[in-house]
Symmetry: C2
Subunit: 159 residues, 2 copies
Amino acid sequence: MTMSAKLLVQNCISAKLAVNWDQFKSGEAEKIEYVSIGEGLVVFVCFREGATEDILPKIASSILNGKLYQTDGKPKSVESDVEKSILIIPQATLGGKLKGKQVQYHGNISKLDGKKIFERFQDILKRESKETECKFGKYGNRQVLQMDTVGPFSHIFEF
Amino acid sequence: MTMSAKLLVQNCISAKLAVNWDQFKSGEAEKIEYVSIGEGLVVFVCFREGATEDILPKIASSILNGKLYQTDGKPKSVESDVEKSILIIPQATLGGKLKGKQVQYHGNISKLDGKKIFERFQDILKRESKETECKFGKYGNRQVLQMDTVGPFSHIFEF
């Protein structure tokens, strides 16, 4: 099975993302707008060539129900156990491979298809999350992020 | 070839890591001590079972010489092109695999061997970096981190 998506999940106690950095830099937007969460998960996602909507419910369920949120005790899920928030950030660089000194991004989804599937992913996450607040970065933009953690407990998952 | 190490590399404009969080929490240390960097790379590393010292120069070279640092132009290397800093953080969770809702960490290196190889990795990075300032987290501790980015440009590499 070919890989359809790559996920990086990090824990945070707060995270703040600029959602219109590119538009601000180009003069299209007058000021930088942010989305932010408190305690929860920062989830970076990269879709690969051939990714289809079929995979999205499984990825959404893993984020919401996977025991990925650590406090001092046992890992918990954001949806059922701790009711925290998640911030989903498109991150095409996750598909990079190092060849010598250069990183190559062969096999990533096209920008147009990536945007479509990311939007569908947003719908599914919003639909599936009963207790979890979901916030999102803007597809195709530079993701200017600040985060504060008591341990990122970084996980990488492939689908 | 079996995978010996997993790396997560993120860009930052500043990062600050508590290096004795566990010791402070247990009362062994009186106050929290930090290491911090300005612009550069935050590098999370997880060694896997069977990792040996042979692999370390290649990993070190990839971090120092790989074009992983992004500004507004072309990606650059921290060692030759931009002379930034790196913060290396042990992160065993990178070796996790999601099985249902649980994350399993089969195949990670033992804590004792991990500590040894991480210390050797520190020596090699210090030796190989002429222009790059290298700072390190403490192996086996919780890695309490704050970071500020103009885009993390997250990359995952396996060795």
